[in-house]
């Protein structure tokens, strides 16, 4: 038994080492940015952080290299994904902390997890004076988190396909676009980088058109695209998207974050000219219905309180923030406090529901996911039909997601379990907020935002919030982004190991 424990330990150590090495190499991007802009202090912060990550990653690879050809089972895959995210959080927070833009190392950890999980709530200080290097790192982290760091490692560092699928699933992605999971990872990165080039050009040109200098328009375009596509919600200014004061910039971001919230399998189908999929796909149908209903509720809530002077601005603000919440992006065009002081309970309720539902499965988005909502509703109507129709009649229901699938109880059970886990997590986050003295509606709003990995804030997430609440939110973001199973596998592994050692 102890042998299998040791073997598992080595396998996990080896692959976590590989993933840490990828995270270290990525720090070259902010280093180059800082060199270009002559931010020398930041260059050294990143060199320290990159070197530390490289040393740790190398140590793990050297010590555990005997495990590289061993079979990875399901629990290993899950634990590798969860542990990589945790170790990545600590290592990637080092340049944040060294930059002096954070009050504490805990705040740095919070922002890294917020980036990785594409949540977008921040504790960074004085964002308007932050270096380009740090801003590059913030957005690279959220872009990486959206596609998945395990996906990245699989693409570039792991040659063996055996067990790769288990690591891939551990990161809450289960669509195989191609028969081989490494080719699937490559396809995900190909799609994301193709959109990155296109999206950056669009936002760059828009930025110049709205009065930004050429180089700033490029950097802002690149960063805002990374955050939009990853449904991350970070921006290089404290005012977030409000900074730009531009309808065109808002429209461009809406297009990109909506596309970013789509399932990679859908992107792949469209890439292969299967255009009908966008109309037939259950996730798109589900999202269209929930967005329409929740937009109507939001607009009604805002109109009832006369929050905005005319229907155009009511729709512009209401729809933008609702769709930003629904896709779990978290871009904001109002101040956090305005949600609390102006929006009223009806509109807030709609945004909370939207944040919990979230985007599509196997996408950059968080939340329950459209696929599960679609399956649950189909199941509900199937059961209603069963009651109404004669018992002798055999009813077969199907749902369409890339192909047609017969709706079975196992689909329903699996969807319900994950949705239930999200609701419990949301309840824990809300209770924690209330415990620390925040009003119920605010606590529920912020909890929905971290549970759905959204990033809209009602003003609770500030550097001054209690440290215990910061830790609770970090855990919620991590658990929710990996859809529970990987983190549960890691916790079980740690407890089982500790118990065995205790008994021996």
């Amino acid at each position: 038994m102890l042998n299998s424990q040791t073997s598992a330990f080595k396998i996990i150590g080896y692959y976590v080492g590989k993933i840490i090495t990828v995270l270290a190499i990525l720090q070259i991007l902010p280093i180059i940015t800082s060199i270009v802009y002559k931010e020398w202090d930041i260059v050294f912060d990143f060199t320290i952080s990159m070197s530390l990550a490289l040393i740790l990653g190398s140590l793990l690879v050297i010590f555990f290299n005997s495990a590289r050809r061993r079979k990875i089972d399901w629990s290993h895959g899950m634990i590798i994904a969860a542990l990589s995210w945790f170790a990545g959080m600590i290592l990637c927070a080092i340049p944040y902390y060294l930059s002096g833009n954070f009050n504490s190392f805990l705040d740095s950890l919070f922002d890294v997890m917020s980036g990785f999980t594409t949540t977008g709530v921040v504790l960074i200080q004085d964002l308007d004076h932050v270096s380009n290097g740090i801003n590059m790192w913030r957005h690279v982290l959220t872009y990486l988190g959206g596609q998945g760091m395990v996906v990245l490692a699989l693409t570039f560092l792991v040659k063996s396909t055996s067990g790769s699928y288990r690591m891939y699933v551990g990161e809450a992605k289960d669509e195989q676009l191609l028969p081989n999971v490494i080719n699937t990872s490559k396809a995900i990165w190909f799609i994301s980088i193709a959109y990155l080039v296109f999206g950056t050009i669009v936002l760059w040109v828009t930025g110049i058109f709205i009065g930004l200098p050429v180089d700033k328009a490029f950097l802002d375009g690149l960063w805002v695209f990374m955050a939009a596509w990853s449904t991350g919600g970070f921006a290089p200014h404290t005012q977030n998207i409000l900074y730009y004061h531009s309808l065109w910039y808002e429209l461009a971001t809406v297009v990109f974050f909506v596309i970013g919230s789509f399932n990679f399998a859908l992107h792949f189908a469209l890439w292969n000219k299967n255009r009908k999929e966008i109309v037939r796909n259950i996730e798109i149908q589900s999202m269209s219905i929930t967005v329409t209903i929740l937009t109507i509720i939001t607009i009604a809530g805002l109109m009832k309180l006369n929050v905005y002077p005319n229907i155009v601005s009511t729709f512009r603000k209401g729809f933008y923030l609702l769709i930003s919440g629904h896709t779990t992006t978290g871009f904001m065009t109002i101040y956090a406090k305005q949600f609390f002081t102006e929006w009223g309970n009806l509109a807030l309720f709609a945004v909370i529901i939207a944040m919990l539902i979230g985007g599509s499965a196997c996408s950059t988005a968080g939340g329950f996911k459209g696929l599960r909502m679609g399956i649950i509703f189909k199941g509900f109507f199937r059961d209603v039909k069963r009651i109404i129709l004669p018992e002798s009649r055999v009813q077969i229901d199907k749902f369409h997601h890339i192909g047609d699938t017969v709706l079975e109880d196992k689909h329903l059970r699996s969807a319900m379990l994950i949705v239930l886990a999200y609701i419990l997590t949301f309840a824990i986050g809300t209770l924690a907020g209330v415990f620390f003295g925040y009003p119920l509606s605010s606590a529920a709003f912020e909890s929905a935002s971290v549970t759905g990995n959204v990033g809209l804030s009602i003003g609770i997430t500030t550097p001054g919030m209690p440290n215990a609440l910061k830790i609770i939110y970090i855990i919620i973001m991590w658990v929710a982004r990996l859809e529970f199973m990987s983190v549960f596998a890691l916790v079980t592994y740690i407890f089982t190991g500790a118990r065995r050692r205790w008994l021996h």
Partner: protein, 160 residues
């Protein structure tokens, strides 16, 4: 002579009254949390110019931060012509005092909370922000980088 004195006294008082403003000096936290109280009123808001001045036709957007929040100020371009430093990593921006009409949800700008400036005064010039490099960081970075390179060369050679 008395009549002349009285005339000048009245004239002086008139100039003082006309010159004074009823505008309230308000911070961003107060403007955002009590936006209704200040809506469509003349206010004075002070803070540092941050980011870029974005030109739109004859006007421009200037984002001004008082340390708590940044608020967008819509102004004629001529009002912003004396602003030299804009806050960023390299600069502390000019500190300005804006007198203008506050909008809780501006009908002209899609419901944005903003200020339409009538007057912008520079109250303190901005400056270059010095960011010295810590010598110990350079040493630590160099040592760690050498160790990291050696270890990765081992991995590369042994094809681990």
């Amino acid at each position: 002579m008395v009549a002349l004195k009285m005339f000048f006294s009245v004239l002086f008082a008139g100039v003082l009254i006309a010159g004074s403003s009823n505008a309230l000096e308000v911070g961003s936290n107060e403007l955002i949390s009590s936006a209704k109280d200040y809506d469509k009123k003349e206010i004075v808001y002070s803070g540092e110019v941050i980011g870029d001045i974005m030109k739109r036709g004859q006007n421009c957007w200037i984002n001004i931060s008082d340390g708590d929040n940044a608020i967008g100020v819509w102004a004629e371009e001529s009002l912003a012509k004396n602003i030299k430093y804009k806050g960023s990593y390299k600069y502390i921006g000019d500190e300005v005092k804006v007198t203008g009409i506050f909008n809780k949800a501006c009908p002209e700008h899609g419901g944005d909370l903003d200020i339409h400036a009538q007057k912008i005064e520079i109250i303190q010039k901005g400056y270059i922000s010095k960011r010295p490099v810590n010598i110990y960081y350079i040493l630590i970075a160099a040592i760690l980088l050498v160790i990291a390179i050696i270890m990765n060369l081992i991995i590369f050679k042994k094809k681990l």
